[in-house]
């Protein structure tokens, strides 16, 4: 007699995996790339809107990096701006140093003016390698990734995630911000790093678009592969994933490093594009803003972070001239609450779910799916930090 062990769920649910790149996604993507990429030719090269579009692209990649860890793996990091800010500062410092070589300060020194104001007499030795752009770019992406690796090894290996992780990363961002302000001789302090030659223009815009598309494809390939399935399993129930033999800590560390790499690259491009980096770009408020872009667009979707970043920041820009600008922060606060309470799946997630339901037939199936969704939602977001029912308290 043979004994077969099979769960009910497995028998009637097969893993359906769609195409890696559906035709409509390719088409829409190409359209968006063409629309943004040709902007310098129809919108003018030195328009403010062009600057904003490049800025938003960087923000969108930043939001995508948050989406990868939060939406797909369930790690809520409130310190993602640490990696963005470090990438931005390395590139900005490098550009500033190179700019200073050609444009001496008022007293004829060939090193950044903010260092002169703070009493430094020459470029600090440890910054000298940053003169070479490749070294700076390498630093900008490698050091944050390495930092994320260290952080991941320390926390995830000990099964610290959820609320604890959010709080620790938040403190991390706050401390980096204070560090930048305190050591203004090296970082520009409150004023940030300004006045260097940046790369606004069609070529760099195309470069940023290429990077965005590459990151989108990487994320798609990653989340669509077997690794992605494991990541989602860890997000939904890490204990069960571990019982099935997956080392959830290693998966978390890996995805955290990928995400830090993306954030750092976004920061590096941001610094090169915008031409000003401030301590706020490495702070907790910016981190949380990235989380809200992801939430608005739709977490665990690929295009959601892009739509969220462009929508929220675009709205802010459109309303910046009107009386409403004073109450923008108030609007952001209400947006936080509204998104969490009413559209937890975000715009893209909600619309996609709606379309899927229309496509896929009977009322029975829909009801089943809804039940499953409600069930998942109740058990997915178990806090790691807070006590659970049945545990000792106080």
């Amino acid at each position: 007699m043979t004994l077969t062990l099979r769960t009910a769920r497995e028998s009637d649910r097969k893993v359906r995996r769609g195409r890696l790149l559906p035709a409509w996604a390719l088409l829409l993507g190409a359209l968006a790339v063409a629309l943004i990429g040709t902007f310098p030719y129809y919108g003018g090269t030195d328009s403010y809107v062009l600057l904003l579009i490049g800025k938003f692209l960087c923000f969108a990649i930043f939001a995508l990096s948050i989406d990868l860890i939060w939406g797909f793996t369930g790690i809520l990091s409130l310190g993602q701006a640490v990696y963005f800010g470090m990438g931005a500062y390395f590139v900005a410092l490098s550009l500033k140093i190179n700019y200073a070589l050609e444009h001496p300060t008022r007293y004829g020194n060939k090193f950044p003016d903010f260092m002169e104001w703070n009493g430094l007499t020459e470029l600090p030795t440890f910054m000298k390698p940053l003169i070479y752009t490749p070294v700076a770019v390498l630093c900008a992406v490698a050091i944050p990734t390495f930092l994320a690796f260290i952080f991941g090894v320390i926390t995830f290996k000990r099964h610290i995630y959820g609320v604890y992780c959010a709080v620790i990363t938040l403190a991390e961002a706050l401390i980096l911000q204070e560090f930048i302000v305190e050591y203004q001789g090296y970082t520009g302090g409150f004023n940030g790093i300004t006045d260097y030659s940046n790369y606004v223009g069609a070529p760099f815009l195309w470069f940023m678009l290429a990077v965005s598309v590459a990151f989108l494809l990487i994320t798609r390939a990653l989340t669509h592969s077997r690794i992605g399935t494991v990541l989602k399993a860890i997000r939904d129930n890490d204990v069960r994933a571990e019982f099935m033999g997956y080392n959830s800590a290693n998966y978390r560390i890996f995805v955290f490093c990928v995400s830090a790499f993306m954030a750092a690259a976004a920061g590096a491009m941001y610094a090169a594009w915008v031409g000003i980096v401030s301590y706020l770009d490495a702070g907790p408020v910016f981190s949380v803003e990235g989380v809200i872009w992801t939430a608005v667009g739709g977490r665990a979707t690929l295009i959601g972070p892009f739509i969220g970043a462009f929508l929220v920041r675009g709205l802010e820009f459109l309303l910046s001239g009107s009386w409403f600008a004073d109450y923008w922060q108030l609007f952001m606060g209400i947006l936080f609450i509204a998104v969490v309470l009413w559209i937890p799946d975000g715009l893209v997630g909600t619309i996609a779910g709606w379309l899927r339901r229309r496509k896929r037939g009977t009322i029975e199936q829909i009801r089943q799916e809804q039940d499953q969704l409600a069930h998942d939602r109740q058990h997915d977001w178990d806090p790691a930090g807070a006590p659970r029912a049945g545990e000792e308290t106080v």
Binding site: H159, I175, L330, G333, L341, R377, A389, E392, T393, V394
Partner: protein, 290 residues
């Protein structure tokens, strides 16, 4: 040198007391009620503004403490009924929603009170200080802070462990469904404990107002500090709060004395991360049973 060290140590105790005062409300909300309240710092800020208003109307800190407790507890009631009660099963999203609440509170306070700073004087009885060691006197207000920290922790322990209400709170925390079956109104308990925690945040604001200028952005650092205290001390055990507060306060003060405040904070943060690696649930955290 020794004298300076001892006086720094004493200052460190009062810094720890500040942390304990601001963290105890959060310990109740996060540790006992299980809600992640990111608006905690803004609750402290509202408490401080309440103290400023009471001060301008002629009252002093002793009057401001109960007023701030009531005002911020009512604020907590509104927030709990309006936002948090829908999110008890989604903690990480509570975090985002309460962050939004915090932003709204900051903007509203700025609209109502304007961008300028408010200053609150300490009560006249607490002016001056005593000379414990060295030339610099140790201010009475810092002793008052330490005393208040002890009172607030003691009162909370008393309420949780010795009153009927505390018994119900612990019952709901341990087994919500069963307590509901036994006739405890669990939603009401959630609401009341959130109000109590918010009220403590208000008291913290009223106490901290005289040592710091009152502004709309004052809260955020207190909130992060409070969370660090809880992470180090352990969630779910109220004794973790004084322990964590003391260790962080001393660490930051002594390291700031040796290097500077930012290096001090950085080193303390690294120490906390290492401590978490050793005790993943905090020093006083319970054992995980899943």
């Amino acid at each position: 040198m020794t004298q300076a060290l001892i006086s720094q140590f004493l200052i460190g105790i009062s810094v720890g007391a500040i942390l304990v005062v601001s963290a105890i409300g959060l310990a109740v909300i996060f540790g006992v009620a299980g809600v992640i309240n990111m608006a905690h710092g803004q609750f402290i800020m509202v408490g401080a503004y309440t103290a400023a208003i009471v001060g301008q109307l002629g009252g002093n800190t002793f009057l401001a403490i109960p007023v701030a407790f009531i005002v911020v507890a009512l604020l907590g009631l509104i927030v709990e009924r309006g936002v948090i009660q829908w999110l008890y099963d989604r903690p990480l999203e509570t975090l985002l929603a309460t962050w939004g609440v915090g932003i709204i509170l900051e903007v509203l306070m700025k609209v109502i009170f304007g961008p300028e700073l408010y200053y609150v004087g300490a009560p006249r009885i607490l002016d001056g200080g005593i000379k414990i060691i060295g030339r610099l006197p140790y201010p009475y207000y810092r002793l008052f802070l330490i005393g208040m920290a002890i009172i607030m922790v003691g009162l909370t322990l008393y309420i949780i462990f010795k009153t009927n209400f505390g018994l119900k709170v612990r019952a709901v925390r341990r087994n919500r469904a069963m307590s509901g079956c036994l006739g405890i109104d669990t939603a009401r308990i959630d609401m009341l404990i959130f109000m109590y925690g918010s009220g403590l945040a208000g008291v913290a604001g009223a106490i901290l107002a005289p040592i710091k200028s009152v502004s709309t952005t004052m809260g955020f650092n207190y909130a992060v500090g409070s969370y660090m205290v809880l992470v180090l001390g352990g969630v779910g055990n109220l004794l973790g709060v004084p322990t964590g507060g003391f260790l962080i306060g001393e660490g930051e003060t002594l390291l700031a004395f040796k290097y500077n405040s930012v290096i001090g904070e950085l080193l303390v943060f690294i120490a906390i991360v290492i401590a978490i690696r050793l005790f993943p649930r905090g020093i006083f955290g319970y054992h995980e049973r899943r």
